[in-house]
């Protein structure tokens, strides 16, 4: 879909209409205390086998991961900050280089039919850059773009995103990561 004209943009932004959800961005979901891990495989490692073993080890240690991205020489993922030390201990059994960072947060920009509207990624990256945030990872789906950024840049980032998408402050919702975690999983 082509970029929308100004008059159309007035229809696409802002809160829900009285009946249907409005087109375009309508909410920001925030998840705090998130960590990020970058696992670099050794040159010559068979990527698929090594990735499978790492994912299985994390699963066995009951560490849920998300925003998982596959790279030529490794993988990256996010996890709850509270699980980071256990994840580091698990990964230490592998002959891989691991870089981690805690004190990150996910800000998810929520929209109706995200993939039918082009240009949202530009608006998001401009807003976050202006707020001084570094994007460590992104994830996207039909209704959201999730950005992993420094938690101490979160408030500025939210302000910029609210301005960019002309949203009220009430559009921001906190989404704790582990609202339904149970100790006996998996």
């Amino acid at each position: 879909m082509n970029r929308l004209s100004t008059s159309q943009q007035q229809l696409t932004r802002g809160p829900r209409v009285s009946f249907e959800r409005a087109r375009g961005i309508y909410a920001l979901h925030v998840t705090r205390d998130v960590a990020h891990a970058k696992v670099q495989l050794k040159e010559g490692d068979e990527r698929i086998g090594a990735t499978t073993r790492i994912l299985n080890a994390l699963a066995k240690a009951n560490i849920a991961i998300f925003l998982i991205k596959l790279h030529k020489s490794g993988l990256t993922f996010a996890l709850a900050g509270s699980n980071l030390s256990r994840a580091e201990a698990t990964l230490s059994h592998f002959d891989v280089a691991v870089t981690t960072r805690r004190d990150l947060a996910v800000v998810a920009i929520i929209a109706g039919s995200m993939r039918e509207v082009s240009g949202i990624m530009t608006d998001i990256s401009d807003a976050l850059l202006t707020a001084g945030a570094t994007i460590y990872e992104t994830g996207d789906s039909h209704d959201s773009v999730q950005c992993l950024i420094e938690e101490d840049r979160l408030n500025d980032s939210i302000s910029r995103l609210l301005d960019t998408f002309e949203l009220p402050e009430s559009a921001v919702e906190e989404h704790p990561l582990y609202a339904n975690t149970r100790d006996d999983q998996p």
Partner: protein, 459 residues
């Protein structure tokens, strides 16, 4: 008055015998003490004489060189539902019911003026309520509404609601009428754990949450349109998916306990995609280059998804139909980054130029030599670009998977062991998606269904 909204899709009203079965569902509801409000789609699918596609072709054939306006297209498309509504009302009348056909406007459905993809802004249900009190069964055109009659601009113009519009009409009427429930009748007996054409062993879900069905629909399953599911969710109206052709109980879509255990709901597949990977390299300018790529794609109206970046690369997916545009944009694209010459050995800037693999680099091969005379004062760096065509996305709908370790590991191992290359993954709170080759879809869906559903109880 217990109002029940019943929506019948195109295949439920395409033949007299199918309409008779649909009418039986309406009469059963009435006999059970409900006041039914019926919503119908156009008769039949593409190729049928009154199907939406046929009507569009009729208008376009007036002069293939002159595109019809969106307003006239909407008026034409709305005829399909008007015909269907009149025929279904007559079917009910012939069976002794007091039925009345209503257009979207007569049913009080007010939309914004975005022709072809209008949103419902308001429903004025007074007329339908009066008809129900008088014992009528209103049969309402799905997929359509009208703009606000009191506004001078486009007052009362017929609009259509876009894809899945009849489901949206049904859900919206359910909300406006405070219906007991909304029933979506189709040709399958509920929401399945996979496409039954690919997986004959696919199970029918007994129940499903609004979020799950919206995710399933967004990720490619053609059961209920996500707009309808979102409307029902936002206004807490129970939604059912049932078969017109059987008495199977169907799938109930309702609120799910937020503290419920994580669970798997289904496997879907959708889209024809191209995976593009840019080797930007280890440069301090990487973020600026990425922004220019986003900006360029946005300017051309190309949506990108599955966006992934590492220290050296940026990769993303575009729909195959817009890939030629994306490729033409990237081939030979130059991102100039100015420098302070005093800090960069006298160079005034670095020019990054995108280069596709040989044979697809026409613009690069023309533009690159043009930069050569300037290389004394600028640095030129190639950004190699590669593309994997013929990709598609399969998704496992897994609510709460972010709180459950091991879901990703299980799926990754299953596909990897089967030799299915996974180009990239993406996940949300509701699903995990994999970008794979189109040729691997059938066996991947079958394998994952076997692993995740055929040995697990699903309810």
């Amino acid at each position: 008055m217990k109002i029940l909204v019943q929506k019948f899709g195109g295949t439920s009203v395409d033949r007299p015998e199918h309409r008779a079965l649909a009418a039986r569902k309406v009469i059963q509801a009435r006999d059970a003490g409900y006041s039914p409000v019926v919503v119908v789609s156009a008769i039949g699918r593409a190729g049928a004489p009154y199907a939406t596609d046929t009507l569009i072709k009729f208008l376009k054939d007036v002069d293939p060189q002159t595109s019809p306006s969106e307003r006239e297209l909407d008026m034409m498309m709305a005829c399909g539902e008007i015909i269907s509504t009149a025929v279904f009302a007559q079917t009910l009348t012939a069976k002794g019911c007091k039925a009345i056909a209503l257009s979207g406007g007569q049913a009080g459905i007010i939309t914004d003026p975005k022709f072809g993809d209008a949103r419902i802004s308001e429903i004025r249900p007074q007329y339908i309520l009066r008809l129900l009190e008088q014992g009528y069964i209103p049969v309402v055109c799905g997929f359509q509404g009208i703009t606000e009659p009191a506004v001078d601009y486009e007052h009362g113009a017929i609009t259509t609601l876009g894809r899945g519009g009849s489901d949206t009409t049904a859900a919206a009427l359910g909300v406006a009428l405070h219906a007991h429930a909304v029933e979506i009748f189709t040709d399958v007996d509920g929401i399945k754990t996979a496409d039954p054409d690919l997986v004959p062993a696919a199970l029918t879900l007994v129940s499903c949450s609004y979020e799950e069905v919206a995710e399933i629909a967004h990720q490619g399953a053609k059961v209920v349109h996500p707009r309808a599911a979102e409307l029902a969710m936002d206004h807490d109206i129970p939604l059912w998916v049932k078969s017109t052709f059987s008495d199977a109980p169907g799938t109930c879509i309702a609120v799910r306990d937020s503290k419920a255990s994580p669970r798997l709901t289904g496997i879907t597949h959708t889209g024809r995609a191209v995976f593009i990977r840019l080797e930007i390299g280890d440069t301090v300018h990487k973020q600026q280059i990425e922004r220019e790529v986003y900006r360029m794609m946005a300017r051309a109206g190309v949506s990108i998804y599955f966006v992934t970046f590492s220290a050296r690369t940026l990769s993303f997916v575009v729909d195959r139909k817009v890939y030629p545009i994306a490729r033409d944009l990237l081939d030979g694209m130059v991102v100039p980054i100015p420098h302070d010459p005093a800090e960069c050995g006298g160079k005034v800037g670095t020019f990054y130029i995108f280069k596709y693999s040989d044979g697809q680099d026409l613009a690069y091969s023309v533009q690159r030599p043009l930069l050569e005379p300037m290389e004394g004062s600028i640095t030129v760096r190639d950004v190699p670009a590669t593309a994997v065509e013929n990709c598609t996305v399969i998704s496992v709908i897994a609510s709460g998977h972010r709180a459950q370790a091991g879901v990703m590991a299980k799926i990754f191992e299953c596909l990897s062991c089967a030799g299915v290359p996974i180009y990239q993954t993406a996940d949300t709170e509701m699903s995990i998606s994999f970008l794979i080759s189109e040729t691997d879809v059938d066996r991947s869906v079958t394998l994952l269904h076997g692993l995740l559903f055929e040995n697990n109880a699903v309810s």
